[in-house]
Each structure stands twice: as C-alpha cells, then as structure tokens.
C-alpha cells in the first residue's frame, strides 16, 4: 500500500493540472503534458517487450507511425468524402475515434505480427538490426505514398470525434489521454502479474530453461510483440490527433531511439518507469531546446553518461542504489 501513495499523488496532480495552470499559457502546458502521456504510452508498450521480454526492438516507431497514419488517412478520406476503396465494396473514411483508433491498433498489431514473426526467428544483435531495418522499410513505404503527402506528410482537418466529448478542446483531449493511460497501466499491471507476464519474464531471464519446461517461447514472445505493437499504434493514433498532422518523421529511426531512451531512463521492467522516463526526456528536451538550438550536443553525452554510470534509470539514481540493481533489469 505504501507504494500507492506516490502514484495517487501523481494522479491527483495530473487531474488538477488543467485547472492549476489556468493562469499560465494553458494550451502550452496542457499540450506538453498530453505529449508526455502519449510518449509514456508508447514507452509502456515498448517496455512490455524490452523490459519484461528482453527483446531490444529498435523499430518501435514503425507501429507508432502506422497508428498515426491510419487515423490520418481515414480522416482525410472522411474530410474529402472520397471512398478508401471501391472494391469489393465501398469503404469510406471516418473521423469517429471509436472506429479509427481501434483500426489503428489493429493495423499496427498486424504489422507487428508480420515483423515479429520474421524478426523473432533471431535474437540479440540480429534482432536489433532487423527491427531497425524493417522499421526503415515502413518509413520508406510512407515516404513513397504520394497520395498521402509523401515526405511532407498529411494535415488533419480536425481531431477525431468521440461521442459527447469535444476532442478539439485541449482540456477534454488531455483527460481522455489520461484516462486511456490509466486504463492501459491497469491492464498492464494485470498482464505482467498474470501467467502470461510471468512466462514472459521467465523467457527474458532464461529462454532455454523456459523452453525446456515446455513453454512455446517463440509464440509467447510473438504475442507480446503484437500487443506491444498495437499499443504503440494507439499512442500513434493519439499523437496524430494531438498534432493534427502526420508525417514520415513519426516513424523515422531516431523516434525508435527516443522510445528506448524513455524506457531505459525510467527504469526497464518497471510498470511506471516509462511515465517518469517520458516526463524526464520531453522536459529535458524542452529545457535544452529553450537554452540552445544545438541541444542535441548536450543530450547525446547525457545519454552516454547515463548508460555508463546510471544503468537502472532515474528511480535508482534517486534512490542511490546504482550498483545493486544493475543486474536486475538486464535482459
């Protein structure tokens, strides 16, 4: 129960945020907070395979971007009233969140199924390079989609429609993202405590032993990969709504690197780690970028130092127990 206190405080603060900052530039602060939560969601999805499954996927942006593009493409077709396809029957676009967002998750999940089925035949170094390469393939695919803006991307006419909610209102959108984030965190806490999560962590720690115990490890890893991809697709659908813009930059490889940084920064294999990681990473970006346009020359060495001296993420750094946890989180 003691662990729940900080969480309850964070939740209260998050609920109160849009009112507390009323005096400040509301759109700006709520916008950043929403972005942090969306990136946290992407981080949570990656954490499932990276932190709990020990799979170093360097292509997570592909699923994130695919989710964003599904929302963008459906919305464009709805705006211009052009059918998406006329064969075998006419399918139109949509701006309904209840249709578009699950479709974004479905598309990202299917993509994860294909990429995962191929990539998971390998492990270690190969897995890293292959996931990166496949993500780049998806990147080039969207770059070559001239009908949807190609390299320049696609502007959305409006955010998705979700029943009585007006998502165009930053505050309502913020609360919806917060609710989704809380739901995903709850489901994930159940998932990792369930048999499936236990098996996944067993595979991370010793795959050969799990196989010897009779678990079909490939199938477990693939299911985790697909769940992770679908969740990243949801995060992508949200980011497309927040920025009202979709472009191949959402799936470019540095984005995949950012997600890994978010997971590791927050501490791998910790349920709430990506929350802290996303907050820290985006705020750091925000602060450094305000200070100098060449902020990456500072961020780069920070990452290197973090890897060399603060392996367990910020939790461990704060708690000052660097050395003891080092082995714990390793895949």
């Amino acid at each position: 129960m003691r662990d729940l206190w900080p969480l309850a405080l964070v939740l209260l603060a998050a609920l109160a945020l849009p009112f507390v900052v009323a005096g400040m530039d509301l759109a700006y602060v709520v916008g950043i907070a929403t972005r942090i939560m969306i990136y946290a969601l992407a981080g949570i999805s990656l954490n499932l395979i990276l932190g709990y499954g020990g799979m170093v996927s360097f292509g997570h942006a592909a699923f994130f971007g695919t989710g964003a593009y599904v929302v963008g493409i459906l919305s464009t077709h709805a705006t211009y009233g052009e059918p998406l396809t006329t064969w075998p029957f006419e399918v139109g676009g949509t701006e309904q969140a209840l249709i578009a967002w699950p479709l974004a998750m479905l598309a990202a999940g299917l993509l994860a199924l294909v990429i995962g089925a191929l990539s998971l035949r390998t492990a270690g170094l190969y897995f890293i390079m292959i996931t990166l390469a496949f993500a780049q393939m998806i990147f080039f695919f969207f770059v070559s989609l001239q009908a949807y803006g190609g390299e320049d991307g696609l502007s959305l006419f409006a955010r998705s429609q979700a029943g009585p909610l007006d998502l165009g209102d930053d505050r309502q959108f913020y609360y919806l993202v917060l609710a989704l984030l809380a739901l995903v965190l709850f489901l994930k806490s159940r998932l990792i405590e369930a048999r499936f999560g236990r098996v996944l962590q067993g595979i991370r720690d010793n795959e050969r032993r799990m196989r010897a115990l009779g678990y079909p490890t490939y199938r477990y890893k693939l299911v985790a990969f697909v769940i992770s991809g679908a969740l990243a697709g949801l995060a992508g659908a949200l980011i497309a709504n927040q920025t009202e813009f979709v472009s191949p930059a959402f799936l470019d490889w540095p984005r995949s690197g950012d997600f890994i940084v978010i997971v590791v920064l927050g501490g791998m294999g910790r349920l709430y780690g990506p929350l802290a990681g996303a907050a820290l990473f985006l705020l750091l970006e925000e602060v450094l970028a305000a200070w100098t346009e060449h902020w990456m020359i500072i961020l780069g060495p920070i990452l290197v130092l973090l890897v060399l001296y603060a392996r367990g993420g910020v939790w461990d750094l704060i708690a000052g127990r660097l050395s003891r946890r080092k082995a714990g989180a390793d895949g």
Partner: protein, 304 residues
C-alpha cells in the same frame, strides 16, 4: 541492354561503398560483440573532413589523405573514451550509448560546418567517362570506386587470413581470454581494429561524397543499409559482408531503375509508378526477409 549494364555498374558502385562500411562494422560486431550505431557518424566525419580540405586546397586527393587518418583518430578516440567501457555491457546499453554518440556527432558537425550540404568534386582526372565496352561510356570516378572497393576487399581478405595481425584479430574473436593470456594486449588490438574500421568508413564517405550530398544525417541512412547487408551476410564475416553488399547494391539500384517500368506491363502507368517506387524502396528489405526465412543467421555465418 546499355541501360542494364550501366545500372548494374551503378549497383556495384553502391555495393562496394556499402562493403567498406559493412567490413568495418561486421568486424566490430563479430569480434567485440558491439553494436556501434555511430559507425555511420564516422562515414559522415570522413566525408566532411575531405570536403573541407578539398574545398580549401582544391585537391581531392589531399582531402582523402587527410580524412582517412583523421577519421581513424576520431574513431580510436571514441573507442578509448566510450566504447571500450561497453564491450562487457549488454546490447541495449550499446544501442543507447551509441545513439547518444550519433546525436552528438550530428550536432557537432552541424555546429562546425553549418546546416547546409557541402559539395565535394571528385579529382579532375577522373571527371571524364571511360568506354567500358564499345559504345558504352561510364563515369571514370564511379569506375574508380568499384576498382578501389574490390582492391580493399582483396586487401582485407589478405589481412585477416595471411598476416599476424589478422591472426590475432581472429583469435581475439574466438577467445579473448586465451589471447590475452598469451601476452597480447587485447585492448590495444581492439582499438586498432576500431581504427581500421573507422578508416574504411571514412574512405566510403569520401568516395560517396562526390556522388551523394555531404550533409548531416548522411551516415544514418547508409548505416541502416549496412545493417541489412550484415544481416544478409552474417555477423562477423567479411566474405558475407562482401556478398551481401553487392547483392544489396545491385538489387536496390536495379529495383529503382526498372521496377516501375516492369510494372507498367501489368498496371496503369500512374499506379505502376506509385507501386513501383514503393516496391523499389522496399526491395532490399524484402530480400532481407527472404534471407532471414531461409537462413536466420545470414548467408555466411562466421561462428557456425
């Protein structure tokens, strides 16, 4: 026919460029078990150094002569300061730290040379064309790249299989402890290998400079192609890197040149252009997937 030969040669030229990168990278991957994302940064640094020396003196060759050892020094410095501490870490740590290095190098280059792309002209005595077959002219510079790349491949084969240094490199790869127990300073051996890899990357950057633009971020797009090469060829295998590079170079170039045209035989011209361009940019990844299904550890696995 004429076009086909020209495009195959262009593919070979891209292939040997990739090989120069892949050879260094696969050695580092295979021997030190290190994922070095910053390998592409060395390619960029080499190209930039050459472009600015050549721009200041007007001599491409002088730029080349300066860029190679300078980049090797940069690479060895990076190895000494950062990468050396990562050999014993897991791959995730290596990915993160070298990702940080990429951000650092890209920004450093942007500060030193500005955000605009530089232009690098090849040497004037290679600016003409050569008639490779009667009636088929081909740019001399591209031909020189192919010849130089093949020469480097032969040199590397000789280095790893016929020299004492090559023997030590291979020994260090299979059993690090034993080699150091025999009195070899493995740490310096690794630094040296890294320097060689950095120099090859710089050579690739210098040769790509006159053909593609010398710009920030040029290292990463080619790095990912290099990864595809290594996945196809097998980690740690120079032979695999060679075969993989040429395959990727030729498939990529031919796909871009001919796929849209081929599809026009079956599809409407507008659709064929779109689908063809998409397929062409995805061709090498599909090739990689096919190799992966057939041989998950690459065509020439080094440690079978």
């Amino acid at each position: 026919m004429l076009l086909l030969i020209e495009q195959v040669l262009n593919g070979l030229q891209l292939g040997v460029t990739l090989f120069l990168l892949a050879a260094g990278l696969t050695l580092v991957l295979g021997i030190m078990n290190l994922v070095n994302l910053a390998h592409g940064s060395l390619y960029m640094v080499g190209a930039f150094i050459c472009a600015s020396v050549a721009g200041a003196t007007g001599s491409f060759l002088l730029g080349l002569v300066v860029a190679l050892p300078a980049t090797a020094l940069v690479g060895m410095a990076v190895e000494l300061v950062v990468l050396r501490r990562l050999y014993a870490r897991d791959h995730l740590d290596q990915v993160l730290a070298t990702f940080g290095l990429i951000l650092f190098f890209n920004e450093l280059v942007r500060i030193l040379w500005g955000p605009r792309a530089l232009f690098l002209d090849g040497p004037s005595w290679l600016s003409g064309t050569v008639e490779i077959l009667p009636g088929i002219p081909y740019p001399a510079f591209r031909l020189a790249i192919i010849v130089l790349g093949l020469a480097v491949a032969l040199f590397l084969a000789w280095l790893t299989t016929r020299t004492r240094l090559g023997m030590l490199i291979r020994a260090g790869a299979s059993n690090r402890e034993m080699v150091s127990a025999l009195g070899v300073d493995v740490r310096w051996l690794y630094t040296l290998v890294f320097g060689i890899g950095a120099m090859l990357a710089a050579l690739a950057g210098v040769m790509a400079g006159p053909i593609y633009a010398v710009e920030v971020g040029m290292g990463e797009s080619i790095l990912i192609l290099t990864f595809v090469v290594i996945v196809i060829g097998g980690i740690g295998s120079i032979r695999g890197a060679f075969v993989g590079s040429l395959l990727v170079g030729v498939v990529d170039t031919l796909g871009r040149a001919f796929l849209p045209g081929l599809l026009k035989l079956f599809l409407m011209p507008a659709t064929a252009d779109g689908v063809g361009a998409s397929l062409a940019s995805m061709a090498i990844y599909i090739l990689m997937a096919a190799v992966l299904i057939w041989r998950p550890r690459g065509l020439f696995p080094a440690h079978a």
